[in-house]
């Protein structure tokens, strides 16, 4: 059991003082104080016992039901405690900490704040009224979700374990891959009310110390009631919270997380969230998949190029179609133009309305599928895509070419390894289509310039978001799209500014 920095001395980003008084519970430790604090908490369990049946001597044991293992409390704390005092042991907290009970993790607490925090984190506490101290034992319940295969980041040849909701299990999963004391874990708590535990992980000597410090500083500046979802955290620690582009790498794979730590990135795991974060994130990193590491470099490189092409199609295809169909028909090959004309005959809507309508329908279908249970979601997709789509085409409400363009762009969007990046691209897809409607290819070109400029000006923990593409070195550019053979890949990514540059001899 580690000491979490729960004493909150944080300041908000504008420098204003934290309005919560410190310490929160200034009263000395006593059973009455604890009872008062947890008053109204029906899961708060207490037991007052006389150790060794000694008259006048009473100790107070308390825990939160459900968060601790009842059997462990009885077997590992109450039973040895009673036996210890029966054999004439001294009834003091020091003796308890020194081994009177069997629990592996025991902490002496003399401040009520720390004691309350331990109890809420799943510890059982033995309170000594006379000494105004307490001893807490880590007896968390084992009722957690088992380690299962990640749902989003599947791998054919990689590990099959994924992160779970428990912080300590997740750190252990990473530790099992980097069995070296240079893997450091710094702990902190987030959320004024939730007091969510979080761990910053990095490989000492490999990660940039400035990035570790910066991450700690930003986490420390978060002053919210609770951190219960990824979004609660992400928008507070990224450099450009208004940008739709993802700025934290998410992964639910411990192997990917460990590899990125070895590459020089800094990791963040939050209790209750089965996804780990990595900083700094670059655009190119979102185009990589863990599978690449398991494949032959030539195959991985080809797949990488296909993903980049899919990215271009996902963003530009609908806008490009709208622009050329509305303004630049001379750019379309004659045969294709004739086919388009044929397919659009008798369709009552303009090209712009068709594409925007189809894009909105596509988003609606996607949202509907996400909200429904799997079997129904499948049915909705079939009804939406096949029946409604086909009927709309046959009824000449929309043209087949519009369906093809939107579907192709959608499929290309799904080819993106990062769902967050895919979501950002979907927004830009709409914006580009509107620009194409208004100004044709000139508008698309202008918006693309603007988008590239925005990406190029984004810094992420001191690293340019478009690195290594924007480094100006051809080798870096090649590295973005292709994967080197592993024996030749001797150096860590330059943009990460790792103190130790080499990853192999």
């Amino acid at each position: 059991m580690s000491d979490f920095n729960f004493i909150n001395n944080k300041k908000s980003s504008d420098g204003a003082e934290h309005i919560q008084p410190q310490p929160r519970f200034p009263e000395p430790i006593s059973s009455e104080t604890i009872n008062n604090i947890f008053d109204g908490c029906s899961d708060f369990q207490t037991r007052s016992i006389s150790p060794g049946l000694t008259r006048g001597e009473k100790i107070f044991v308390c825990w939160l039901d459900g968060t601790v293992d009842g059997t462990a409390v009885s077997q590992d704390i109450l039973r040895p405690l009673t036996e210890f005092y029966r054999t004439g042991g001294d009834c003091s907290p020091e003796h308890l900490v020194n081994g009177a009970v069997y629990s592996s993790a025991a902490q002496m607490r003399s401040e009520t704040d720390k004691l309350v925090s331990d109890i809420t984190q799943g510890c059982a506490a033995v309170v000594f009224d006379s000494a105004k101290k307490a001893v807490t034992f880590e007896v968390r319940t084992a009722n957690v979700r088992s380690i299962t295969e990640p749902q989003l980041e599947k791998s054919l040849k990689g590990g099959k374990d994924g992160f779970v909701e428990r912080l300590r299990i997740n750190t252990a999963l990473v530790r099992s891959r980097i069995c070296n004391p240079s893997l450091k874990i710094k702990s902190t708590t987030l959320g004024r009310k939730s007091e969510t535990r979080a761990a910053i992980m990095y490989v000492d000597g490999v990660a940039d110390p400035a990035q570790i410090e910066e991450l700690l500083r930003r986490l420390d500046a978060i002053d919210v009631d609770g951190v219960l979802a990824t979004g609660n955290l992400e928008e507070y620690i990224v450099d450009h919270p208004r940008s739709p582009f993802p700025q934290l790498i998410h992964t639910e794979r411990p192997d990917r997380f460990a590899r990125q730590l070895l590459n020089g990135r800094v990791g963040l795991i939050v209790d209750g969230i089965p996804v780990a974060f990595l900083i700094p994130a670059t655009f190119a990193e979102f185009m990589r998949v863990p599978q690449d590491e398991s494949l032959h470099f030539s195959i991985a490189s080809v797949l990488s190029i296909i993903r980049w092409l899919a990215l271009i199609l996902a963003v530009l295809l609908p806008a490009f179609y709208v622009a050329v169909a509305m303004y630049h028909q001379e750019m379309i090959p004659t045969k294709l133009l004739m086919s388009i004309i044929q397919s659009k005959k008798n369709v009552p809507f303009s090209t712009a309305l068709e594409i925007i309508g189809m894009l909105i329908s596509f988003e609606l279908l996607q949202e509907a599928s996400l909200r429904l249970p799997d079997p129904i979601a499948g049915t909705v997709s079939i009804i939406g895509a096949l029946i409604v789509g086909q009927s709309a085409v046959e009824a000449k409400v929309i043209s087949p070419i519009a369906v093809i363009v939107v579907a192709f762009a959608g499929i290309s969007g799904y080819a993106q390894p990062s769902q967050d990046l895919g979501a950002a691209l979907r927004i830009w897809r709409f914006v580009l289509v509107i620009a194409a409607v208004l100004w044709g290819l000139f508008g698309v070109a202008a918006l693309m310039c603007l988008m590239v400029w925005m990406l190029c000006t984004m810094d992420n923990f001191g690293i340019n978001y478009t690195s290594p593409m924007s480094d100006g070195r051809p080798r870096s550019l090649v590295r973005t799209f292709l994967r080197k053979p592993k024996p030749k890949d001797k150096y860590r990514d330059e943009e990460l500014r790792t103190p130790d540059k080499r990853r192999q001899a």
Binding site: A325, M326, Y327, H328, Q329, E330, T334, K335, L337, M338, S339, I340, I341, Q342, K344, K345, V347, S350, T351, L438, W439, G440, F442, G443, A445, A446, L447, C449, L450, W453, T457
Partner: protein, 378 residues
């Protein structure tokens, strides 16, 4: 402050791309594709008093019908406008014109007008192939070719594909014609003749089709003569662009038809001091035997083929000499291959052309092919 400045300037720079769209500039381009009638073949029949334009387009596969239109006006633009006025619902769209045909008289008298229009038109493409109808007007070709299922575009596309495959006659684009005219005042345009398709097609009625008919020779933006389709191969040979076309050679007791495999033509300048006095053409041909009748004599076939090629080359070169017209672009070829030989000449190649003599050496080699047993042949 600096960062803020960049944030203001960069979007403005991006938006500067849209300056052409101000005042609704881009919206004049706006049209829905389904409202377009795509013109794919255009014909010009221009005389000093009348300008006739014929178009063919629309249609493709399925239910679409081909549209053929013809009108005359004082100018090509006027004719286009008139055609648009006659068109009921669709906008006539000229950006996909794939072929341009001109009548024989137009090529003689008004070629400059046609080329000028093609260059100036914002919709026409300079890489559009040009044709001259040797036995009539462009209108006959554009309106008369094809039927309900195909039109002049299909006819000319088929012709283009066939000539490309055979390599015995080239189709020059407007860009090439204009470039050649600008370079030495002469150029070639592929000539076609309109014939009734029923000559070969059993199902055909009155529709016309186009057959290759050599080249129209252009000098100073006027047609001055024609090279026959038979002699057209010589042009391809000189320009090292001859393809696998077939030639029938007389062998004494019968005919042998061969397919050209490899053709090389070396042109050497023959100098008299620092002046160019003649040109030597070394042509090497290898061909494979396709068919023969009677008793095959390979030597005789080679000799016959050699003579045929020599004759064709001589015909074309003599025409160039007589008309003082470098439509074969020999000056350009020599300039590229022997830049030093021509550097010190007092006159340009075009001026020297009537006075220079030619030496033509043709060597032919007919290969055995398809396992034909030539020794044991009857």
């Amino acid at each position: 402050m600096k960062r803020c400045l960049y944030k203001c300037i960069a979007p403005l720079l991006c938006l500067s791309l849209l300056t052409g769209c101000s005042g609704g500039g881009i919206f004049t381009n706006y049209r829905e594709v389904e409202e377009l009638m795509i013109v794919q073949t255009m014909g010009f029949d221009l005389t000093p008093s009348k300008t006739a334009v014929s178009i063919s387009g629309g249609g493709s596969s399925g239910e679409a019908k081909f549209t053929r239109m013809f009108t005359d006006a004082k100018s090509i633009s006027g004719a286009e406008q008139k055609i648009q006025d006659y068109s009921a619902a669709e906008e006539i769209f000229y950006a996909h014109v794939n072929y341009i045909a001109m009548g024989w008289e137009t090529a003689k008298e008004e070629l400059a007008h046609c080329l000028d229009f093609i260059q100036r038109s914002p919709q026409m493409r300079m890489d559009t192939p040009l044709f001259v109808v040797s036995n009539g007007t462009a209108e006959e070709l554009v309106l008369g070719s094809g039927n309900k299922e195909y039109d002049a575009t299909n006819v000319l596309k088929s012709l283009e594909r066939n000539l490309d495959a055979r390599g015995d006659c080239r189709i020059f684009s407007a860009k090439e014609v204009v470039a050649n005219l600008n370079k030495n005042g002469s150029a070639l345009i592929c000539a076609v003749k309109c014939v009734k398709a029923s000559n070969a097609l059993e199902d055909a009625k009155d529709e016309l089709t186009a057959l290759p008919d050599g080249y129209a020779v252009i000098k100073d933006k006027r047609m001055i003569g024609q090279i026959s389709y038979e002699d057209a191969l010589a042009v391809s040979l000189i320009q090292n662009e001859a393809g696998p076309c077939s030639i029938t050679a007389r062998t004494g007791s019968g005919n042998a038809t061969v397919q050209l495999e490899n053709c090389q033509c070396k042109i050497e300048p023959l100098m008299n001091g620092s002046e160019l006095s003649g040109l030597k053409f070394d042509v090497k041909l290898s061909a494979s035997l396709l068919e023969y009748d009677g008793r095959l004599d390979v030597k005789a076939a080679e000799a016959s083929l050699q003579k045929q090629i020599e004759t064709r080359l001589t015909n074309v070169l003599n025409m160039s000499k007589l008309t003082a017209c470098d439509f074969l672009q020999l000056g350009g070829i020599l300039e590229a291959r022997h830049p030093f030989a021509l550097a010190g000449m007092s006159k340009d190649f075009q001026t020297l052309l009537p006075d220079i003599y030619y030496i033509i050496n043709v060597s032919t080699d007919i290969n055995r092919s398809f396992d034909a047993d030539l020794e044991g042949s009857p």
